[in-house]
């Protein structure tokens, strides 16, 4: 409230130059509070209750959290989630980085191709998953193998489909990042006799490190909440071999109707995702906002 008052007060007086008032952030803050903070707080509250969705939630203290720690499926889920995150990061980062740097060139064909690359990102995850589910059909699809029925096949399919959808987005980020790199650096390097590879590893990559951080945080947090693809492609199967944490949460909530336990898993995920992104930002020095153009 004081923020608003202050802004109004300052607005009434002299016009402040340069910075808009905090009131400009109000709609976003309200939306975020209503659609993110409130549901999260409710989920956190529900994690201390037992609720089957019919009666009223009954407080059970730490029982759900205890159950979470004792759940043998949690270890498997966590491992899978970490593996999925790592594999998605590696796949998406390598491809998107290369594509992005390539697309940062100015030729006309690159602009056209970049626009085409971006198409998968415009489709909904559900549509993409349904599409790949049909393509991977063991009897009538294009790859007539037991892809989704084998553990490694199902896992790789999830990584691939996720990559197929999100690589365009990260490519766009890298394209933007690469275009920001001053051309003089490349000109100087060329004079010194550096070849294309040397230029890539000594100029492009270091200059893109903040872009890499941004993209990494997005991929990691995104992979932690990966869900639709798993639900549609494998339903956590074969057996429980692709039952990552969000799927475990869905199952607890909407198949066994144990909303308290599902909320505990959800809360744990929020905590993990927040913690992880903080760690990433700290480790990479992204929070320091140091300039990428050191030495310029």
């Amino acid at each position: 409230m004081s923020v608003t008052d202050q802004t109004v007060a300052s607005g009434r007086g002299k016009v402040r130059a340069g910075r808009p008032g905090a009131v400009w952030a109000l709609p976003a803050v309200l939306f975020f509070t209503f659609f993110a903070v409130v549901p999260m707080a409710l989920a956190f509250y529900l994690s201390f209750t037992k609720w089957d969705g019919l009666g009223d939630p009954k407080p059970v203290g730490l029982a759900n959290w205890q159950k979470l720690l004792d759940d043998p499926r949690l270890t498997q889920s966590l491992t899978l989630t970490v593996l999925l995150t790592a594999a998605s990061w590696a796949f998406q980062t390598v491809v998107a980085l290369l594509l992005g740097v390539w697309a940062a060139g100015r030729q006309r064909n690159r602009a056209v191709l970049s626009a085409i690359f971006f198409v998968p990102f415009l489709l909904s995850s559900t549509a993409i998953s349904v599409l790949f589910y049909a393509l991977l059909d063991p009897n009538f699809g294009i790859i007539q193998k037991d892809t989704l029925g084998s553990s490694s096949g199902a896992f790789l399919a999830i990584v691939f489909v996720g990559g197929w959808q999100f690589i365009p987005f990260h490519t766009l980020i890298y394209q933007g990042g690469a275009r920001q790199i001053p051309q003089v650096l490349y000109q100087a390097a060329a004079i010194d006799g550096a070849g294309r590879y040397r230029q890539f590893f000594s100029i492009t990559l270091p200059q893109l490190r903040h872009t890499i951080t941004t993209s990494t945080v997005l991929i990691v947090v995104g992979s932690l909440t990966y869900f639709e693809t798993v639900l549609i492609l494998t339903k956590g199967g074969p057996g429980t071999d692709t039952a990552i944490l969000p799927y475990l949460m869905y199952e607890a909530g909407f198949k066994t109707y144990d909303f308290g336990y599902a909320s505990a898993i959800a809360s744990a995920l929020v905590l993990a995702a927040t913690g992880l992104s903080l760690v990433l930002i700290r480790l990479t020095g992204f929070g320091g906002m140091r300039s990428t153009r050191e030495g310029m």
Partner: protein, 447 residues
């Protein structure tokens, strides 16, 4: 819970956005969201219009016709109420019903599978005990096959009125393939293994199986356990004794399943084949697999997707006998039918009951028959000659009519929580992640 016509868990069109899932724990918000796009005004409150939630597949035409008929009827005027039907896509049905029932816009009448599927509602006082209503009303009391009425019971009390066709699990076979290979549908287990050998030699997978959905796999265990140990084995588990999983019949059934898998009876890719997206029915209809153990809705599925196959090449038989088993070969597993139940919070119970009576009418039964279903009404037998395939309808009716025991699909009988956990264990057994003995001990630990 899963074993129903076209039942899919999110394999079609359900967009669960990330935010939505993160907020899933906060179902309080979700509930408001669902009800906002759900039943609208008048449901749960107001005496004029009552809302009925129904599983929205092809068979919903019958309920839509019933609603139209009822809204014009004298009974509707007497009860001062009309019915509004909410057709909910199959994959969303259960979660939507569950969240709506906890909200102010709960339906007055709702579709369910009886037995374990309504246990949570019964315990929460969200379902009307219809025992006395049925006892005191000749239309309802004499309108249905008693065994079907009883199959949806909880502890001997009726909570639902049968409202769809019977859905026994049947062994379907491809007549053309069988004729070409000069084989007969198996009536004993030895014959079945023999038929398998011949089919494999000819390069044909013996059985189609939608393994990625898990519930088609469950059908094998249901029949095997019943044939080996009789219906009492599962009855004990259903009544809450997890030690019942330790019955030798369960282990033997699991071992037989494993032998079938190792032997290639389901081919090598069944774990990624789905029933609900049409994969398994297509494998079967195209002759890649010779047989398909499936609920009676397989006929209408095939009729919709491969009409020529359904009309001329689709054969059916009862599940074979197992030589040293004690279970009666006439026993049936599957879903006796679906039921309508009433929410106690309804403002117009008279209208709800009057509407449910329509399910016992001849007009309603005729609509079901026309769709290829076999009604569970006592007048059904006389109507079967007008079915799209009277021979099939008669087979199904006799199968259920003569069955000494009709075991409700295990997942339905156990309810959502246990049923889901059991699915996980069955999935592990069929993918070879656990051995038959590990399966048994894991099931004993389920609670």
């Amino acid at each position: 819970m899963e074993s129903n016509r076209g039942r899919s868990t999110g394999s079609t069109g359900t967009a669960f956005s990330r935010r939505w899932v993160l907020g899933a724990g906060a179902s309080a918000l979700l509930t408001t969201g669902l009800s906002a796009c759900g039943s609208g005004e008048g449901s749960g409150g107001g005496g004029d219009t009552i809302t009925a939630f129904v599983y929205g597949d092809d068979a919903v035409k019958v309920q839509a016709a019933a609603v139209a008929r009822f809204n014009k009827s004298a009974a509707s005027k007497t009860a001062k109420g009309k019915v509004k039907l909410e057709k909910i896509p199959g994959s969303d049905y259960l979660p939507k019903l569950r969240t709506a029932m906890g909200s102010p816009s709960a339906p007055d009448v709702f579709f369910n599978w009886g037995g374990g599927s309504i246990k949570a509602y019964q315990e929460a006082g969200k379902i009307v005990d219809l025992t006395d209503v049925i006892e005191n009303d000749p239309v309802l009391k004499n309108g249905f096959l008693p065994s079907v009425l009883a199959a949806g019971d909880l502890k001997g009390r009726h909570y639902g009125i049968p409202m769809r066709g019977m859905q026994p699990v049947i062994l379907f076979y491809n007549k053309t393939v069988f004729a070409e290979q000069k084989i007969q549908p198996p009536t004993t287990w030895d014959q079945l293994l023999d038929v398998n050998t011949k089919l494999k030699k000819a390069g044909i997978t013996p059985f189609a199986l939608g393994g990625s959905d898990v519930w088609p796999e469950l059908m094998w265990l249901e029949y095997l356990v019943d044939r080996i140990g009789g219906p009492e084995v599962f009855r004990r588990i259903q009544d809450g004794d997890a030690e019942g999983w330790g019955d030798p019949a369960v282990l033997e059934a699991a071992e037989m399943v494993k032998e079938l898998i190792d032997d290639g009876a389901f081919g090598s890719k069944f774990t990624s084949v789905s029933y609900v997206n049409g994969g398994a029915p297509a494998v079967f209809a195209k002759g890649k697999a010779a047989m398909h153990l499936m609920g009676s809705w397989e006929y209408s599925t095939q009729l919709g997707k491969f009409p020529d196959f359904a009309k001329s090449n689709l054969g059916w038989a009862a599940f074979p006998k197992i030589e040293d088993g004690v279970g009666d070969v006439r026993n049936v597993v599957g879903n006796p039918t679906n039921y309508w139940s009433i929410n106690p919070r309804t403002q117009n119970k008279d209208a709800a009951i009057a509407f449910l009576k329509d399910c016992a009418s001849e007009a309603y039964a005729k609509d079901l028959v026309a769709l290829g279903d076999v009604p569970t009404t006592s007048n059904a037998a006389a109507l079967l000659s007008s079915a799209p395939n009277p021979e099939y309808a008669k087979f199904q009716y006799d199968l259920v009519q003569q069955a000494p025991a009709f075991t409700l699909s295990w997942d339905q009988a156990l309810g959502d929580e246990l049923g889901t956990k059991m699915h996980t264990e069955i999935g592990k057994l069929f993918t070879g992640k656990s051995s038959p003995s590990e399966f048994v001990s894991a099931c004993k630990g389920l609670k």
